[in-house]
Amino acid sequence: MSRKENRSISAALAAATCTLLGSGVPAPVDAQEEPLWDFNTSLLYYGEDDDRVKDYSVSAIARRMFVDDRYLTLGLTVDGLTGATPSGAIRQDVPQTFTRPSGNAAYTVPAGVLPLDDTFKDTRVALSAGWQQPVGETSLINVGASASKEYDYTHFGVNAKFARDFNQRNTTLSAGFAYSFDSLDPVGGAPTPLTPMLDVGDTSNRTGNPDKDVLDIIFGVTQVISRNLVVQANYSYSMSDGYLTDPYKVLSLVDASGDTLPQTLTPGPSHQYLFESRPDERTKHSIYGQAKYFMNGKVLDASYRYMTDDWEIDSHTVDLHYRIPFGADSYFEPHLRFYTQSEAEFYQLSIPDSQPLPSFASADYRLGDFDAITAGLKYGWRTRNDNEMSVRVEAYRQTGSVPAGQIIGNQAGRDNYPDLNAIIVQVGYRF
């Protein structure tokens, strides 16, 4: 049928409707799908106790809707990081002096105190853009790009995902990838792995600006089981290649008593520390399962992730969200998350001077054996002007341990793994 004949149908229908309703020409319709732009903004505070890391983060995601279910998404996040982070050196019964990562100055940590590197101060700006659109009647494609910049780190990334519905739209299969290219510009230059922390002003073991790339590939299936239950399963593969070492982390070189070997440099290091060394490749596999169960407005969202990698870190994550409506326009959402991981094969508390140097070693607590629990509550409500507001408060606790075989002499009496407590407060506004 031609376009012209089709038009005459709506005209004929309009005329017939006027006759039927016996009214004049009705006021013209004014309808559109929800606003073309919507914005999701949030303010986040993350604070670790004991003067460790604090992060104030502002983020905004803007989404522009186009006809035929196509979307453009733009994101901006600005983080302000301050505080200190464990350097990897162990506690001592005497004060310890370290050369700052810049190599320009030194700082001293009192006896018995966990050495923290307090030069950790940074502003990070991250941008992202994404485009989503249907392909044919049953498929959806997403493509995106991201970039971020902080004073010692630059990231560029691209990603794409394709999803297709089957089985009356009850089954969705998806495949995606993300590739990122990151370059580091560590303060003072990246130290050569497993070389000593040198005196102030001595930069002979600092090299140029290393980089790394990361490829992630993900396959997923989402299945609608019933009107109330939707389940999802993913497999993802991640391959990192390049400089994966943390240029600011060190290990203490210890003698048979477990104490760090002293040295006599002024003002520079009071003891012997070696910069850490990690393999330049890391391959991760993870399996993820999620179930969402809808019960009369309540939603239970439960997920589990198992991750294993060739650094021999295995982790398990269980994440539970339960959304409970409260009145017509608000809800509470308790959140519980449990996490546990085993230590990397090259994780070690300190390096004994009696043994040959290993190829790889790190005392980074994030590569250690630890458990973490997050407990939180979110309250969300609809504002008078029909926008959405939410407040989330969560507590995070991480407790770890060092394998007994790594503890030498006097170390046995010390608190070796730096436990961590943090508070997260987030305020979100969507309009």
């Binding site: 376009r3 709506s10 017939a16 009705p26 013209p28 319709v29």
Partner: protein, 295 residues
């Protein structure tokens, strides 16, 4: 039949609710006083029930029943019925005979309950003998229909009722008001206290709405088979039947939502588009109407 009205203050608007034409009906108004809101809701409910009583094919003694039980004798109808029949004739022509108010008897063999009960072709052929407006003699105001045939104006009735009710509300009150009968609705005016009326179009899998439409003024109507379908050997039979074949229209969209000046127009365009099957979107694009189509 449940004939009562509930009135609640939901946020900043009055929500009057009642049941009519097999659907939950609501009237949302920004009336200042409870009494005004009650008056509006009562007026709308009374009109909805009047139309239901007059045209429901499930009730005895009304005009539809008189026509359907006339057994071949001529029946003289009143003006309102005649207007609806004239309108149905227009749709019959515009749809190339696929919108047919005599097609209701096909439901004797097609029961759309989500099962695999697809009827035998011979049973469909048999019932089809009693379908077809061309067999009816309509000389306004007299209708003569062969014995065994039935008419059902249910395909127009709800949208007609929504428009009639919105018209009555406009005459009575200037306050912005939304008349919604089971998803077919009209906004008389843009709401005063917010940017627009937000209408959620329900998704078919979860209870979560998958689309929110901001309506300031005018009508929305949705045709679809989110729950009314048959499934056999992996073939989904939609509840949109083609009265020229007796079988469901193949490849009809899951649902079509139309925005138009009146609810009757919105509803009829969505129905005509459904009857186009695979060509529904093509048809809608040519109509120059605002539409949302889900496959």
């Amino acid at each position: 039949m449940q004939r009562d009205i509930r009135l609640d203050l939901a946020e900043d608007a009055w929500q009057g609710r009642f049941q009519a034409m097999g659907s939950p009906c609501e009237v949302v108004s920004e009336a200042r006083k409870r009494g005004d809101a009650l008056e509006i809701t009562s007026l709308v409910a009374a009109e909805a029930w009047r139309i239901e009583n007059k045209f429901s094919r499930y009730l005895d003694g009304n005009i539809v029943d008189r026509i359907n039980s006339a057994a071949g004798r001529p029946v003289e109808v009143d003006d309102e019925t005649a207007d609806l029949l004239d309108f149905a004739v227009t749709l019959y022509r515009l749809s190339e005979h696929r919108f047919d108010i005599t097609s209701g008897v096909l439901r004797r063999v097609w029961r759309f309950d989500g099962t695999d009960q697809v009827p035998e072709p011979e049973n469909v052929r048999e019932v089809l003998q009693r379908v077809g407006w061309h067999r009816v003699d309509w000389q306004r105001p007299v209708l003569t229909m062969p014995h065994g045939m039935e008419i059902d104006v249910g395909g127009i009735g709800k949208e007609y009722a929504v428009d009639r009710c919105a018209g009555l509300v406009k005459e009575l009150h200037g306050d912005p008001c939304l008349v919604n009968f089971g998803g077919d609705l009209v906004a008389t005016r843009a709401p005063g206290r917010r940017r627009s009326w937000k209408v959620a179009i329900e998704g078919d899998v979860t209870a979560a709405p998958d689309r929110i439409i901001e309506l300031k003024q005018g009508a929305l109507a949705t045709s679809g088979d989110a729950r009314r379908f048959l499934l056999k050997h992996g073939v989904r039979y939609s509840h949109i039947l083609d009265p020229t074949t007796g079988w469901p229209i193949p490849d009809a969209p899951r649902s079509i939502t139309i925005a138009a000046d009146s609810c009757v127009e919105a509803g009829m365009i969505s129905t005509l588009a459904m009857l186009k099957g695979v060509a529904a979107e093509h048809f809608l694009k040519a109509q120059n109407v605002v539409f949302w189509c889900r496959r």
